[in-house]
Amino acid sequence: MTRYVTLAWHYVRLAVMHEVQYRINFFLQIIEALIALGTALVVLALVYAHTDQLGGWYHDELQALLGVFTIMMAILRMSIQPNIERLIGDIQQGSFDFVLVKPIDAQWQVSIRELRIWQSVDVIAGGVVIVHALWNLGERITWQHAVLFGITLGNGMLLIYAVWMLISCIAFWVIRIDNIFELFDNVASAGRLPVNVYPAWVRIVLTYVVPVAFAVTVPAQAITARLDMPSLYLQTAVTLTFLVALRGVWRRALVRYSGASA
């Protein structure tokens, strides 16, 4: 077990050492984060200039949800996506062989190799938006809420990891899949709204196919004190199911892999 953690730690160190070489990217990332969040906040302001609630969510609550969405997307771009891009590149070029010959679990390895530390700017920006929204809501955050938020956020990250990894496993069968990811990225953008706003069939897609409902809406419910316990259990169950499914598919994928030159 310690071997796994140590390895992850070394990869993180390497990533940090690599990325601090490009300090200007930090400032560019700040500007980009400000623009993206600014646009999203403008949309919210426009919506709430014409109504006072959207599907039962008030302005500040939806702002908190936007903060959660921003954090989720940042995690996706910080760690999950770069790792997957590298994995797919490895599969296409056959350098996945080098992962397989190393004496540590392959899935663990391909999940920790990359880290874009400057993306953490977006995590912080999302956090600031959440804090600001909670401040305006004027609610006192009890430690129970904070714990629930932590759990649901963690679940959400694992869930997104599992779904994105599941899609990338398709690369073992079909080589060119970059467009599927683009499609999924677009679907994920639906997470910036609470799922109950959408028509029923879209809601089903957003809950069980691309589960942004569980990844974004549920943590946002937790932090704005509107979470009920069944949602928490369901979120945990869905996360576990996706993780187990991923493990199964991953094993089959490994059997299927035969090297690019073989």
Binding site: I35, T39, H50, L54, N179, N186, V197, Y198, V202
Partner: protein, 267 residues
Amino acid sequence: MKQLWSVYRALTSVSVQLMLQYRLTNLFWLLGMLFEPCISLVVWSTVATQNGGEVAGYTTASLTGYYIAWTLVRQWNIALTPFGFEQRVRHGQLSPLLLRPLHPFHYDLADFIALRIVGTLYWLPIGIVMVAWLQPDLSHDPLTILLFCVSLVFSFLMRFVFVYALGMAVFWTTRVSAIFNLYFALETILSGRLVPQALLPSWAQQIAVWLPFRWSFGFPIEIIIGKLSIAEILQGMGIQVLWGMIATVAFVTLWNAGIKRYSAVGA
């Protein structure tokens, strides 16, 4: 002139054939693009329903029409961005283009015309299904539809030249991304891509009239959903042509000044 025409025909047809090779890619790309307007449509229909069926003069049906037309106009708005130009200069891809017999602009324009043709072909069945299924409020008047098509072509040409001219910035600096991100964010908000103009606060609407953004995006959409009179449409097309001319002058001036400074990366 006739020679240029035949060059364009040849270049465009080659590009169309190249793009048609990747049928699945194109389809995924198009499907992915549908999500942005879907989200906006959901938000604003919800608001309209909550307000008793209307928001700033838009009913649910006219909002549906707006965002269906959006999907077509969005496609015709795609241009060669400064980011693309930056990459070209950094990777040294511009130099070989300069050696070709025609100005690089012609090759790019032909390529993007081809993209419009392929994109529209793919869009047609999806558009027809959406119109039949969602019953939007769209104009049936043949003259309006014709004017819409013309203004669509105008908005494509106008924005293409405009954004191309912006790309000339790379002759002076190859770090353009931050400025242009801000520029495109402004464009997204003020052009009608995010929300119909009428939903913006009135001061923002007044600013938008004087900027080019609205004329390449919101304007053609407002034609097809029947928000504008014939006089307003013709006036708007005049403004499109005017912006197109301004963009052309800017592009030619900037290109001539910039190309003298250009000394390929790596040289």
